[in-house]
């Protein structure tokens, strides 16, 4: 069984002022993910190694870290696909590090909360005390569905060059989510979100580096969402954007009188 070398950036604020690299040699088996190897290190070699994980299947976003210089999910990255016997792992950049591979994601969540990532409607009674569904067609769903796959892992924020230069920048994830909600036909908060992202370190600080879309593990394409949102805002400024009301409630179709000569349908079998 061959060995793989893991070079991990460690940081313990109570003990050391600066981060340092620590090397671990572990036996490698095909089919193991980076997260599996980290678990092995923690269990068999060094129990002090800290990292986040949860679902281990690429849906929670907890284990995002810098693997071979690229932001990835550790649970979703097969060691084999890295094609190297030396794997370098570091915490996500553009965030403060709490310990070892654990970044402080609270600034990202604060920015996310800032853009109001929920359905905004005037008819609060229906939102809070639901009686019926809101009607949304398949086409309307497809307008924003791709952007709703975001798992808030922070990989896009870590990869963004503007985030590296300006920590006040809102970032790809909140901006993509603001577009997601603006294009949800159930939502009526577009104008408010336009004002929220129209700030000095807001949406117009994006320079189309597109690294966010390269690293996104769920195929969200935040760069596309940001450019579509910019277009929406410019059109709104030029008064070219069609005003849209939030979609209404789903109503059952009323019985219609059958025309003469048309037979009744057969009884349903399902």
């Amino acid at each position: 069984m061959e060995n793989i070398q893991f070079i991990i950036r460690r940081f313990s604020p109570e003990k050391y002022e600066k981060p340092y690299w620590q090397v671990y040699n572990i036996p490698f088996e095909e089919g193991k993910t980076v997260l599996d190897c980290l678990h092995y290190i923690k269990k068999e070699i060094d129990s002090t190694l800290s990292f986040r994980f949860s679902c281990r299947m690429g849906v929670c976003g907890s284990c995002a870290m810098l693997i071979q210089g690229k932001a990835r999910l550790a649970c979703n990255t097969q060691v084999v696909e890295l094609k190297s016997k030396k794997i370098t792992i570091a915490p996500l950049p553009n965030f403060e590090t709490i310990k070892d591979l654990v970044p402080d994601l609270s600034p990202m969540f604060e920015k996310h909360k800032y853009i109001k990532p929920n359905i905004q409607r005037d008819d609060l009674k229906e939102v809070e005390d639901k009686e019926k569904e809101f009607y949304q067609s398949e086409e309307e769903l497809q307008e924003y569905l791709q952007f709703s796959y975001c798992i808030r892992c922070g990989a896009c924020m870590a990869a963004c060059p503007t985030m590296a230069a300006d920590r006040k920048y809102l970032g790809p994830m909140p901006l993509a989510q603001s577009y997601r909600y603006n294009n949800d036909t159930r939502d009526g908060g577009s104008k408010e979100r336009h004002n929220l992202v129209d700030i000095p370190s807001g949406i117009f600080s994006c320079h189309m580096g597109s690294e966010c879309s390269v690293v996104c593990p769920k195929g969200v394409d935040p760069a596309k969402a940001i450019q579509l949102m910019k277009r929406e805002m410019v059109f709104s400024f030029l008064k070219l954007l069609k005003k849209k009301k939030p979609c209404g409630l789903y109503e059952e179709k009323k019985e219609r009188k059958r025309r003469e000569g048309i037979p009744e349908p057969p009884p349903r079998t399902v």
Partner: protein, 124 residues
């Protein structure tokens, strides 16, 4: 919608510069090929050709527009770059005011030069 307006104008300025700078390039640097607005032949920067262009009121507007849009496009870009270098809010605002004032001053000086050239050219 303040940043939206500024950014939209930045884009529009870029498009305007594309055409006006293209015109400048054709007149000044492709003079031997297209000989555009160089009625006296020879070099584009010869006194006779410069004088002929300054007599045309259209050129005064071309220079003023090119100056204005180029100054706006460049200073907005510079302001954005400074703002993205993690400076404090006060420092960002300070540079924003400095660049705005400096830009206006350069625009006034350049506009004066273009109009003065038109006035002077009328004497020849």
């Amino acid at each position: 919608m303040k940043d939206t307006k500024l950014w939209s104008l930045h884009l529009f300025a870029g498009i305007v510069i594309l055409f006006l700078l293209g015109l400048h390039m054709a007149i000044m640097h492709l003079d031997e090929i297209v000989s555009l607005f160089n009625p006296k032949g020879e070099e584009a920067i010869s006194w006779e050709n410069v004088l002929e262009r300054m007599k045309m009121i259209g050129f005064v507007f071309v220079y003023i527009f090119l100056l204005g849009f180029a100054l706006y496009h460049s200073f907005y870009g510079l302001n954005k770059i400074i703002g993205e270098t993690n400076v404090k809010e006060g420092t960002r605002k300070f540079w924003s005011y400095v660049l705005t004032i400096f830009g206006f001053l350069l625009f006034i000086i350049g506009t004066y030069a273009a109009i003065a050239a038109k006035v002077v050219s009328a004497k020849f």
